[in-house]
Subunit: 481 residues, 2 copies
């Protein structure tokens, strides 16, 4: 098929005619930032990188690529961990980067909705909502770079899913350019619409394999009137789960975040940050960061938090707790949680497993998987943290201090990931709770999905993208594997 493709020059000229010369990048130097993922793990090549300025331009780019059978890789902020947003190394693809489509088109504070182009960054979207005294609740580490189109295409999660759901739960309408250039639009801001198949669901979490999301109507929420945050030491993961149960029972739906932090995770981030001390005086093996938010007054919410902690103490679920006395305290607690990821990246040599299991199994899973990993790699630092309230932890064994990152990953990446993923799967869990599949876990799906699931995925793919032009090689393992 490669032989039939237009030459890079032809493609470049065609793209220049559509988006303008200034919005095209070609040649290794100019395309490098777009064909390499931000961790530098996935490196590919592209014929051309285009940065369209409008949905109409995206449509014309896809029409041309469809007619010429040129594969297309959609790209937002390029913050994927799974290699889903960069092309393969065949050099055949056109990368369509949405960064220039970065306008907030409308905010309707009465309807509690915001209409955005796909290239708006998450932090820009959050700020725009805040300016209207509204909350857009998605909260993930890469918010300054990641874009709404990517958040939608990967069904992003983060630290407020417990209260507000994943990105899928936060979208009311989409505009999508289909593989042949047709434009599907449901940018209407309706909370109820049962007129046939809910087509937008197809594109959420599809990682750009079925079309390119160019716009969205997002849900906004009332801003909470008060929040209460505590950094809590617990004896073990089971106690953390039991404490969450108490928090839900005593606060209704006020629990917004419930994040687990293992001792090695805390040590790593405190060392990385340098100037910040643990909120707790003594060393503990397990901590949780709890956040409640509500529409009632702060006094009442703080009383609820104290009630939860006291109930936890009296049942032996809480060993110690620091309650944020100020916004600044709360920010420090959150900073400790949020910097774990960067601290790992700087340390290097971390095996990232992003698993989920039912909440009733998460404690046992963490204990058992840790024990099994430590049998294999006795000195691994068990950096385990994240969204326990959703049954999701980032389970990231880190290299022993005296082993170089490369050696550790070469030796242990495969066996440790397979072990952890396999154990999660055996608990009816997921091998990718929020990071998606990309190319990194594509072939693992043959082990962890049923035959029927794989067949259905291909039936959908072939229905929408029969020529397999949209983000080819991502998400779906080759049929018959």
């Amino acid at each position: 098929m490669t032989a039939e493709l237009p030459t890079p020059d032809t493609t470049l000229r065609a793209m220049q005619a559509i988006v303008g010369a200034n919005a095209c990048r070609s040649g290794d130097a100019d395309t490098q930032a777009y064909v390499t993922d931000y961790r530098g793990i996935y490196r590919g090549q592209a014929q051309v990188v285009v940065l369209p300025a409008s949905t109409e331009e995206v449509s014309r780019v896809l029409q041309w690529c469809h007619a010429q059978r040129v594969p297309v890789v959609p790209q937002g902020g390029n913050t994927s961990l799974m290699g889903g947003a960069v092309p393969d190394d065949s050099g055949t693809a056109v990368v369509v980067n949405l960064s220039r489509m970065n306008r907030v088109l409308a905010i309707d504070p009465v309807n509690d909705t915001m209409t955005v182009q796909a290239g708006v960054t998450l932090s820009a979207a959050r700020s725009a909502a805040e300016a209207e005294q509204r909350l857009f609740p998605l909260r993930i580490g890469s918010e300054g770079s990641c874009q709404i189109g990517g958040n939608l295409s990967t069904n992003a999660g983060g630290t407020a899913v417990l209260r507000y759901g994943n990105m899928r739960d936060l979208v009311l309408g989409l505009e999508v350019v289909l593989p042949d250039g047709r434009i599907y639009s449901s940018l209407r801001g309706l909370r109820k619409d049962n007129t046939g198949y809910d087509l937008k669901q197809l594109f959420v979490g599809a990682e750009g394999t079925l079309g390119i999301i160019t716009g969205a109507v997002l849900k906004l929420m009332p801003q909470p009137r008060s929040s209460a945050v505590a950094f809590v030491a617990v004896p073990d993961p089971a106690a953390a789960v039991a404490l969450l149960g108490e928090a839900k029972r005593l606060s209704g739906q006020a629990v917004t975040a419930f994040e687990l932090i293992s001792r090695p995770a805390l040590d790593l981030v405190l060392e990385y940050l340098g100037n910040i001390a643990s909120p707790l005086q003594e060393r503990h093996d397990w901590m949780v960061l709890v956040e409640l938010t509500s529409g009632t007054d702060a006094e009442s919410l703080n009383a609820t938090l104290m009630e939860i902690l006291e109930s936890g103490f009296s049942q032996g679920l809480v060993l110690d707790a620091a309650v944020a006395a100020s916004l600044s305290d709360a920010q420090t607690f959150w900073r400790i949680r949020e910097e774990i990821s960067d601290a790992q990246t700087r340390t290097g040599g971390s095996i990232k497993c992003d698993v989920s299991v039912p909440l009733s199994r998460i404690a046992a899973f963490v204990e058992e998987a840790s024990a099994r990993v430590l049998e294999l790699v006795p000195d691994a630092r068990m950096v385990i943290y994240g969204h326990m309230g959703d049954g999701n932890v980032h389970f990231n064994p880190l290299r022993p201090k005296d082993q170089p990152a490369r050696d550790f990953l070469t030796q242990w990446y495969e066996p440790v990931s397979a072990l952890v993923d396999g154990m999660a799967h055996a608990e009816n869990g997921s091998i990718s709770a929020e990071h998606g599949i990309g190319v990194a876990k594509r072939d693992d799906l043959t082990r962890y999905k049923s035959q029927v699931e794989l067949e259905l995925m291909w039936q959908v793919k072939q229905a929408l993208d029969p020529l397999n032009l949209l983000n080819p090689g991502k998400v779906l393992p080759a049929p018959g594997r």
Copy 2:
């Protein structure tokens, strides 16, 4: 194609061999309840009605029907308003009624999930959750008869969507028998799972045209610790929307229900109920039923409700208000709201329009559409009520007192529905906010959906059901219309 179909006798014997003779119904008398909708509007015919007892039986029924090219109509509680759950009058279909698959399979109170067979009624599901001190929040009028499978297939809404979302938002996993008998299952209870396309979304709201839902994992919530309910008179729909804004601002996400009730709707239900008086002393044109629920104490929540009402009074948004002083009061307020539908059915001659528009347009829509309908039918009783908080009202002009139902509907059903639906569509609204499409509104989609939307719906249908055997003639207008 009919000529090639097996004879009813052959079909009956085949079905008997799969589900047993006791679980098959044939002949006009025995099938009547299954081929007629509950309002008696849609009457069809079936070769056989089968009541399978297991997913395996459903699978074998569908395998046989697929091999023989026999159309299949899935059926739950048969409470659809749109003719979506009964066969056409060709007499070719096998009706698969799920009523015998009515077991709650598991409740996991730590994971806050419940696994059910599709034939469990909504009220049974709610009761099972309650027995574990949990809430399953879907709340619709037909809860005693409707089934979870039907709730999922129609993405049911109701009076708690404002807080908890539609049925789509309440499901974590599905088991579905596909048109050829294959079984797709994701009954895993995960809140986060980004491993490829979220296939279950295909079947939610598809009205049984892509497969038969046989089981589901549903989300449970903490039971609220307190609730506060008020029956409030407002000057007009715009004031109601502004009051909702105040309620959201002052209570965060405590607003669980915000239901509009027009004067003719209240009159109708008070007359119907006989022994219940209006909660308000004076007559008003517009009322709203407001419910707050929260995890904090009742005192604090009542204070929030009073703060909302006082703010409303001071801004002229509230004319009068009755606050429920007891559970019994709250039940009475709710009964008034919930009996409106039955009161209409008994009165007869109501043109049911189930429309939604963005919340910022709902007040203008109600005013303008009412005026336009009254120009056509000056004595129509404007029964308008429902889920204003979601931008959704049941906009149901009712026959004048002195005009028989049949005459009124013959004369006005078509022009009034077309007027109201057209006005909703012009406001970027939906012509079926929660009732679905069935056969009743199928052909209207050609007017209100874009060509791309209709094409995509057919692309999905043909991918999953290429022989068009599952609930044929429902939801999708014939291509090329």
